[in-house]
Amino acid sequence: MEGLEFSGFVGIISLLVILLPLLSFLLILAGQKGRGADLALINISLTFILSVYLFSLLWNKQPFHYQIPWFLIGGIEFKAGILLNNLTVLMMILVSGISVLVHIYSRIYMKGDPNIHRYWAYLGLFCFSMLGLVISDNLLLIYLFWELVGFSSFLLIGFWFTRHAASQAAQKAFIMNRIGDIGFLLGIMIIFSQFQTLDISALFGDNGLMKESRISEGLWISGSRQIPEVWLSIAGIAFFMGAMAKSAQFPLHTWLPDAMEGPTSVSSLIHAATMVAAGVFLIARVYPVFDPFVLNIMVCIGAFTAFMAATIALTQNDIKRILAYSTISQLGFMVMALGIGAYSESIFHLATHAFFKCLLFLAAGSVIHQLHHYRDKLGLDFDCQDIRIMGGLRKGMPIAFIGMCLASAALIGLPLSSGYLSKDAILITAFEWAETRNGIFKILPYLLVLTSWLTAFYISRLVFKVFLAQPKLISREQTEQIKDAPNQMSYVLIILAFFCSFIAFSYNPASFESSWLWNGFSSASIQKVNIYHWLVPLILNIGSLGLLFTTYKIYVKSDGISIPDRNLLYRFSKREWYLNEIYSYLFTVPVEKFSRACYWFDRNFIDALVLKSASLVGVLSGITYWFDRTLVDGLVNATGTLAKWIGRFSRNFQTGKLQHYLITMLLVVLSFFILTYFI
């Protein structure tokens, strides 16, 4: 009885958690335009408070599961429900917490936009769908929210829809995600046809159907259903594809840099902290589905993505693009971690990354915001996001600078930062995992180390160029006039900065194993190799610090770009590995052409065939008509015509001309003669 009451209570709270943002979405659309900002903030704050409450109730407790019947199809009942476990409540608190901060930040950042109410409404929709995605207990529901997240992301990226680039980016993001969604849907199809249920706890729980199913003789058998084994791998790849699109993994990552066309606050919330983590979340949720083959693919793709994105970030000049590629790179780390089985490390990194990347974006946002104001005030014209024109902003914007530095430290993984804990945890586990593998998998950890060093390089390049280097376009005096953003924004930065330190996650700054978050998840059983636990962080940090120093030399002291410009590698990186061009060449253009060809085929072949057959029928009917008119009808007419002809013929004899009569008469006589005498 008490249990029932408890479950009802928690259920209502979790429902409230997801419905409050939806409420703000609906209210704002229904006409509460003026009070959009307040409404949204109040709702999301309430959501956050409730999430914290739920977190305190359920963290490290028995997972909570509550279902109601949804619909019945055939003999199978679908249920909608809520599943709260450690992962869920963590994600909830993460999403709602960062949302609250971004809401506060956006009040200033988005001030003055004529369509601001839409912005609040879309944010509400996003929070609703993201939280819904997190707490759903059912693959179909997850899919539902999954696409809704993509939809709200579409709306937010295209928020400034009058800008062509923005609407283009929104479209690209949605379609890229759709590719992943197809994979997800395929995964759902396979799972459903195999198990006739989509309930996560029933499928992937401790004694779930997935565990019960077995593989024998090339068949994947569950109960009475069986399917060739290959479909298990396909299901894994399919789910992974969904995650790849959402979490911007190679080759479906190109939408994320473009998505930076949206407002920076949106980028920080959706495209850095929360939505992109949904892919990782999904992998975590359906983890049992992946067989070793798929996991290996995951490792390769994760590592490759991390590396590739880092190389691209090296040369970008748009401040948000650098951060976007950095995000992709970090997501690559997480995916790779999931692939090697480092489930808890991955989630850990997801959490820390959410904070420090959010901070990076918001700090960058405040720089952009202030530059924007400055530009508008002076009537200048320059790109507010180009780091080449920035420089020396440290004096005017100390808070942004400090925030940025802290977040960068976490990103690089310097000691005492949160990143040090989570990222090194991943690397250590990767090395431990590689111990048991061979071939290409041996070198993957080293690739990650390299990536980490690259990370150190590109982020320090960013920080140094923006805050420390000599200003390029504007004089130092002018630069000092650019002040820190208004207080509300700065507070947010400060709060986030706190979460970049180790304190929020662990009492011991050196060991991730003492982190409460890491301990909250069941650890994968990987052979522990102690040597890595101090060697890897050491090497990493020495390398990173060395790089930091070099970067400082290059960008602050020597005041110029000394790296060789415009060589092949540079251009390769600058143009983002030419992937956009390759995709356009390989997919977009051919599909467009193919569709034209199809239409041409449709018009000129199928339709023409129909028309031709129609005209053939026309000709046939013409022939029939001719036949009818001349032969059938003709026979009838012929008798008449014959009589007429005879009449007309004989009428010819009565010409009234004497000589004709005479000729006729004589002809008759003649024939009489001939008949008589010659025949």
């Binding site: 000589q659 004709h660 000729i663 004589l666 002809l667 003649l670 003669f673 001939i674 005498y677």
Partner: protein, 177 residues
């Protein structure tokens, strides 16, 4: 071939040629004059058939009567009639073809019949005593017309008078019929 035959065929040829010219001639006046020639030569042929009186009558009636009638009737009273006839196109119409066809077939039929039939073998010709060159035919005609053929003779004279009166009546000017 003796002289008699020679002269006969000469006249026969003259008859046929002049007759052909008469019917093919476009000029009416010329064809009327050529008509004389035909009639004269025909009269000559009658002579060869030992019908002197007929030949003379032919000349008198045709040349003296019919031709004069024709020429004078038209030349004197209806000049414009002759003029209007001048421009006749020389076309070879179907009509002509049919006419020619009919004529030729008749000619063929007649000639072939004449050739087939052996006239001298006919009974009445065989048994009859033909007129000889020295016979007085005029006397015989006179006798016969007043005796044996009196009725036709009288009918003919009445008929002749009717025709003359009728012709005169028809040819009267001014009044409509």
């Amino acid at each position: 071939m003796n002289a008699e035959q020679l002269i006969f065929y000469f006249f026969a040829a003259l008859v046929l040629i002049s007759a052909l010219m008469v019917v093919t001639m476009q000029n009416l006046v010329r064809s009327i004059f050529l008509f004389f020639v035909t009639l004269f030569s025909l009269a000559a042929l009658y002579v060869f058939a030992l019908a002197d009186f007929i030949a003379v009558t032919q000349v008198v009636i045709y040349v003296g009567g019919v031709l004069v009638l024709m020429l004078f009737a038209f030349m004197l009273s209806n000049k414009e009639l002759l003029n209007s006839l001048e421009p006749i196109k020389r076309t070879f119409k179907l009509n002509h073809l049919a006419g020619i066809f009919i004529c030729l077939s008749f000619l063929f039929i007649l000639v072939s019949l004449i050739v087939q039939i052996d006239f001298s073998g006919l009974d009445w010709i065989k048994s009859a005593a033909p007129i000889l060159e020295g016979d007085n035919t005029i006397h015989a005609i006179g006798m016969h017309s007043m005796t044996r053929y009196l009725l036709p003779f009288e009918v003919l004279s009445v008929f002749l008078m009717m025709a003359l009166i009728g012709a005169a009546h028809l040819a009267r000017k001014g009044k409509k019929i």
